[in-house]
Symmetry: C2
Subunit: 275 residues, 2 copies
């Protein structure tokens, strides 16, 4: 999917919501556990109930790897289901991969070609040749970790270098890489005040923002500084949506929560368009 | 496996060789391609031929993910084969994972419990709470990326912060984390001169050193500064060993290459013990 298609979808749905499919068998409704593939069945119902409110789905691969082969089968079925039934949806493999050049190419092929995700999250620590193999794929998007919303996020990302904090150096340096137009960036929502500085460095790129909801970030604060003329934001919510209910009506409850966020987003987009 | 068992194995085998099981179907002998599981068959023969010369095996997960479900099955069979037939061998999942707390716990369970690896490589960018969930496992080892041997390695790792280069800050900070005695560090071999500084910060921890051989690092140079009284090094070679041959005798050729490295290591250990 190219960026224009993503932008067009945001405009049509009046939403920039990404739903995190972080499926934990200990948290899903117990009646699903008797299904042959409870993880996929859970995802399928969540997707069917929310696809008109969300523009992106983001399975975090850790939750699938934790169930071994069965988990990978469920991940494959989930991405295939989205691509077949809702091909307009932008898909993100939240894998946070990164390795030396030829090995990064293997990861890129796994997520972009075999699984046919539109994008994958990548860690910057190993530098240019660990990320550029991902950037080489046409109409695929590499979402680089910049500033993360977890407690230890600033341990290294916040270190002041000769020029500026490490996460700003990551943003600036990444812009110099080959095919940097295929980049997006992960920026944690618990630090809304940082978005102002970040938008000065990357005014046009999409930012994937986890941490709204359960992790404590505030949507209005993020949008105040993070929105650009193409929206430029994908706001992720995982637990707040997918675990809103815990009985046979769980998918409807998820839809209700997604609807609340979509409505808030519609207002924000409307206000922005009014100028 | 605890650290004493690893040290004891190094002393018995007079080797600190780690063999990287980075299996690429385009590079393995073609007669294996008709096997039902060519990746596992390749690994099995390499392992059977080299287990007495190596103290560790390190499959890089990218090479397995690239083949989807089949790849994960091959990885699972490989680690089970090592654990059953050669339980004295130290196993490393070269996965370079890292995510926020509860998600890192999922990865840790996947590699330490389900697959029963002795260790996993982890990226530091997300800080303390992305690594500590791995460190919480008893007799399991978390091998943190510090300085990597790829071209872009210094893009960020070499950035000078207020105190010192980023990779040194990673080493120093990691030592303050809970259960830091379960840490090892990845340090690239192409930068042997860095080992002197690194050993001042982490004199006692094991260092996993990729980049000897195909990537251009020199074993003698690394050992000069990197060895400590418990050896403290695991030197990895992947392509130089596993692709030494490309016909039915490939495993013997791999053994020959592993033997050469083991012999060199035996001399180095002998010299060190003399004084």
């Amino acid at each position: 999917m190219n960026k224009l298609e993503l932008i067009s979808q945001i405009q049509q749905k009046k939403s920039f919501l990404c739903i995190g499919l972080d499926v934990d068998l200990a948290k899903i409704p117990t009646h699903l556990l008797s299904e042959s593939d409870p993880i996929f069945e859970f995802n399928k119902q969540i997707i069917d109930a929310t696809h008109h409110l969300a523009v992106a789905y983001k399975p975090n691969t850790a939750f699938y790897e934790a169930y071994g082969i069965k988990g990978w089968v469920a991940l494959e079925k989930t991405i295939n289901y989205i691509n077949e039934k809702y091909p307009e949806i932008f898909t993100i493999a939240d894998a946070k991969r990164g390795d030396i050049g030829n090995t990064s190419t293997m990861y890129a092929k796994a997520f972009f070609e075999d699984l046919n995700f539109d994008s994958v999250t990548v860690a910057p620590y190993m530098g240019s040749d660990s990320v550029e193999p991902f950037l080489a794929f046409n109409n695929k998007h590499t979402i680089l970790l910049a500033l993360t919303s977890n407690k230890g996020g600033l341990d290294f990302q916040g270190l002041k270098t000769d020029n500026s904090e490490l996460y700003k150096e990551v943003l600036k340096t990444a812009l110099t890489w080959k095919n940097s137009e295929n980049l997006m960036f992960v920026v944690g929502a618990t630090k809304a005040e940082y978005f102002k500085d970040i938008r000065q460095i990357v005014p046009n790129h999409f930012l994937l923002v986890p941490g709204v909801g359960a992790q404590g970030g505030n949507l209005q604060d993020v949008c105040k500084y993070g929105l650009n003329n193409n929206c430029g934001l994908l706001i992720n919510s995982s637990r707040g949506i997918i675990y809103a209910g815990n009985d046979k009506g769980f998918a409807l409850k998820a839809k209700d929560e997604a609807f609340k966020l979509q409505q808030e987003m519609e207002q924000i987009l409307h206000k922005k368009s009014q100028g």
